[in-house]
């Protein structure tokens, strides 16, 4: 596939998927919480741009609504809420020492390759672009999981959780031009409620273990010892 031979829209979508994938890697190696949240907001912004672009090129009004919802939730509300938590806990100067950073980054790269491998069969049904877009979305989902495994702060877990949601949203926008409106509204509602619940949880965790380090939550075991 020669990228110059594609039309402008396809080129733009491909660059957007590359950028979204890149932000996921940036988050993976980030030890400072505020910067992590900032990169997350950037990823949200990229999603908003992609959505508006698809909406514009298809002249599809309901996608504009999704774009606005994404902007409000993923660029403004959630980053603002997380930032408030970090500042309130006075964690903005801490740098989390990430164990095995190299291994995690290499793992992230192999997850991306793995996503391409898993979605290979899709090529028979559609274009190379679709494969790229779907594979990047899947790898954003998997990188989000890796982010949650490699970080210990609850805030980072929430960022990972929400970036998984971003990956799914990207897949829905690029591969299928968005889900039906009711479903999209439902998903946005769930994300909103989840974000609010996370806020409540931070409060509870802080009062119960006086920290947001989830490694300290280790009272429950598979079998009692």
């Amino acid at each position: 596939m020669n990228i110059e031979s594609q039309d402008f829209y396809t080129q733009a979508i491909l660059s957007m998927s590359a950028l979204v994938g890149l932000t996921s890697f940036l988050m993976l190696g980030q030890g400072r919480l505020l910067r992590l949240i900032f990169v997350f907001a950037v990823q949200g912004l990229l999603l908003t741009l992609t959505t508006s672009m698809v909406a514009f090129s298809l002249d599809n009004p309901h996608l504009y609504i999704s774009a606005v919802l994404t902007f409000a939730l993923k660029v403004v509300f959630i980053p603002w809420m997380l930032q408030k938590q970090v500042l309130a806990m006075n964690m903005h100067r801490d740098v989390e020492a990430l164990k095995n950073n190299t291994a995690v980054m290499l793992g992230g790269a192999s997850l991306m390759v793995f996503s391409y491998y898993v979605l290979q069969p899709i090529i028979h049904t559609s274009s190379m672009i679709m494969l790229n877009a779907l594979a990047v979305s899947l790898s954003v989902v998997l990188l989000g999981l890796l982010l949650m495994i490699s970080h210990r702060q609850a805030v980072a877990h929430v960022v990972g959780f929400m970036s998984i949601e971003n990956g799914l949203f990207f897949a829905a926008i690029v591969a299928t031009n968005g889900m039906p409106m009711v479903v999209e509204l439902g998903v946005a509602f769930d994300v909103l409620v989840a974000a609010v619940l996370f806020g409540i949880f931070f409060l509870h965790i802080r009062t119960s273990i006086d920290s947001l380090d989830v490694d300290m939550m280790n009272k429950l075991n598979e079998v009692d010892r």
């Binding site: 898993v118 979605l119 069969p121 899709i122 028979h124 049904t125 559609s126 779907l134 979305s137 899947l138 989902v141 999981l145 949650m148 609850a154 877990h157 959780f161 998984i164 949601e165 990956g167 799914l168 897949a171 829905a172 591969a175 299928t176 031009n177 889900m179 039906p180 009711v182 479903v183 439902g186 998903v187 509602f189 769930d190 409620v193 989840a194 619940l197 996370f198 409540i200 949880f201 509870h204 965790i205 119960s208 273990i209 989830v214 939550m217 280790n218 009272k219 429950l220 598979e222 079998v223 009692d224």
Partner: protein, 486 residues
């Protein structure tokens, strides 16, 4: 069709109403009444479906067929009997100072929220909405798990939230792939409707659907509690209030399995192969065996029975995976009896732990001597869940064994082994609890035993003779799911 709207509206009204006044005296009774009305509505709905066959609402948003209608009735029934139990239970918890007014508001409001999400999962015709409401069920129950605000319960709720949230996100990816496959054959606005998908199942691209099913199984499988995605389940069950454990075990797990089976029907149609079934059999069998082994190492009575739930859900997943009419019939029956028996057990366990003042198995002793009803209830419940005749669990497990012997004879020893291990695991813990000497100063408590008696009675009835209309239903559902009649 009006019954469905009424059902959903009633629960939605319940959320708002209890959110405002859920702390008042006797509010538990009102909750019971709302659930009783819901039960009547669902029975009305069931009768309509029984007479008219499948109903599709005018906007095609809701679908009631023989598969989901009996689950809807079961949901309403368990919701109702559990609310009977929850009213005095929560009042007691408030009396001993474990809960404040605002938590009680939250509890009742979210009880209805959970019921609403469950009804939506079952009634909706849209695979996307099914996902949304499944996630909604997590969101509704997550604050209930941490209701007591102990460090353990907060840890359990966090684990539940993160694991189920991440897990169910995989199911959304699967749903998007499904939509992608469906939008290739046209009509993208209706492409997520189950009826449309099912009609065109053979045209869907098999490669995409295979990939999609892996994600769907992992996603909804997290909610079913399939090993190795089960870690949240024992924690959430043991740390939340007991009525919540009863509905989680009796309803949430069933409905997640329902979502998987709905998707499996599409994938089977598209691939014309047994790949989805093999995946389900593998996951199911591993869950069944691992959970049976874990039963032996438990020290907390609610954790003990939540591992038993994982075990039974594994068996059902396995049976749906085998796929023939006999196995499907057995799985449907097992879903019903497991819900009935397991929620009855959680009710008695709730009383037992209130009696003893602890959930530690080593601290609960001499139940029969203290309060015979609690002791016998727990013992009979355990006998029933372990698969002894004449209870319904025996019938369904026996049918699963028969189906396995017919299709995959070499797996039968594994199943028998699992059933044996689970039986031993349950009884080594339950025997001293019910027969042991009663500790000093343990006295009977006020308890409502109607739910336990009704549930176990029904399980017994289903074991002795399945009533005609019910077996008709199961047969119709079997025909729908497996494609051939029993």
């Amino acid at each position: 069709m009006i019954a469905v709207y009424l059902l959903l509206l009633l629960s939605a009204a319940g959320i708002l109403f209890f959110g405002l006044i859920g702390h008042k005296e006797d509010i538990g009774k009102l909750n019971t009444r709302i659930n009783a009305v819901s039960l009547f509505i669902t029975i009305w709905l069931a009768i309509t479906v029984f007479n008219q066959g499948t109903i599709l609402s005018s906007g095609k948003a809701f679908l009631i067929d023989s598969f989901n209608v009996y689950l809807i009735v079961l949901t309403a029934f368990v919701g109702f009997t559990t609310s009977l139990f929850s009213a005095p239970y929560m009042a007691h918890e408030k009396e001993i100072g474990k809960l404040s007014d605002s938590r009680l508001k939250l509890y009742y409001s979210m009880y209805q929220g959970f019921m609403l999400a469950m009804y939506l999962v079952l009634t909706t015709n849209n695979m996307g909405i099914m996902w949304v409401s499944m996630e909604g069920a997590t969101l509704a129950t997550v604050l209930l798990v941490s209701l007591y605000r102990t460090p353990e319960s907060i840890e359990a709720a966090w684990k539940y939230f993160i694991l189920c949230g991440v897990g169910i996100a995989q199911a959304l990816f699967g749903t998007i792939l499904l939509y992608y496959a469906a939008s290739q054959i046209g009509d993208s606005e209706n492409a997520l409707l189950w009826t449309v998908l099912h009609e065109h199942a053979t045209q869907l691209n098999p490669d995409i659907l295979e990939i999609a099913f892996v994600f769907l199984l992992i996603g909804y499988g997290t909610k079913i509690g399939l090993v190795p995605l089960h870690n949240w389940l024992p924690d959430a069950h043991s740390e939340g209030p007991t009525p919540m454990s009863a509905v989680l075990s009796g309803l949430l797990l069933n409905d997640a399995l329902y979502a998987v089976v709905r998707n499996k029907m599409l994938v089977d149609g598209a691939t014309q192969s047994h790949i989805a079934g093999y995946l389900m059999m593998g996951f199911g069998l591993v869950s069944f065996l691992v959970a049976a082994l874990f039963l032996h190492r438990q020290k907390d009575i609610k954790r003990l029975f939540s591992y038993s739930s994982i075990e039974h859900m594994g068996l059902m997943t396995f049976a749906f995976g085998i796929g023939g009419p006999l196995a499907t019939f057995a799985a449907l029956l097992h879903m019903t009896v497991h819900s009935l028996v397991k929620s009855a057990i959680f009710v008695t366990v709730g009383y037992a732990s209130q009696l003893a003042g602890t959930q530690k198995i080593s601290g609960i002793r001499g139940l029969i001597k203290t309060q015979p009803k609690v002791g016998w209830g727990l013992l009979i419940g355990t006998v029933a869940i372990a698969g002894f005749p004449p209870f319904g669990v025996f019938t369904s497990e026996f049918l699963v064994l028969l189906a396995t012997m017919r299709e995959y004879p070499w797996l039968t020893p594994l199943l028998l082994l699992g059933i044996g291990i689970a039986f031993a695991g349950l009884f080594r813990h339950i025997q001293p609890i019910v027969y042991g000497e009663k500790p000093e100063g343990q006295s009977p408590i006020k308890a409502n035993f109607i739910p336990v008696i009704v549930h176990l009675g029904l399980a017994l009835w289903l074991g002795l003779a399945i009533p005609g209309f019910l077996s008709d239903w199961f047969s119709q559902a079997t025909l729908l799911i497996s494609g051939s009649a029993l």
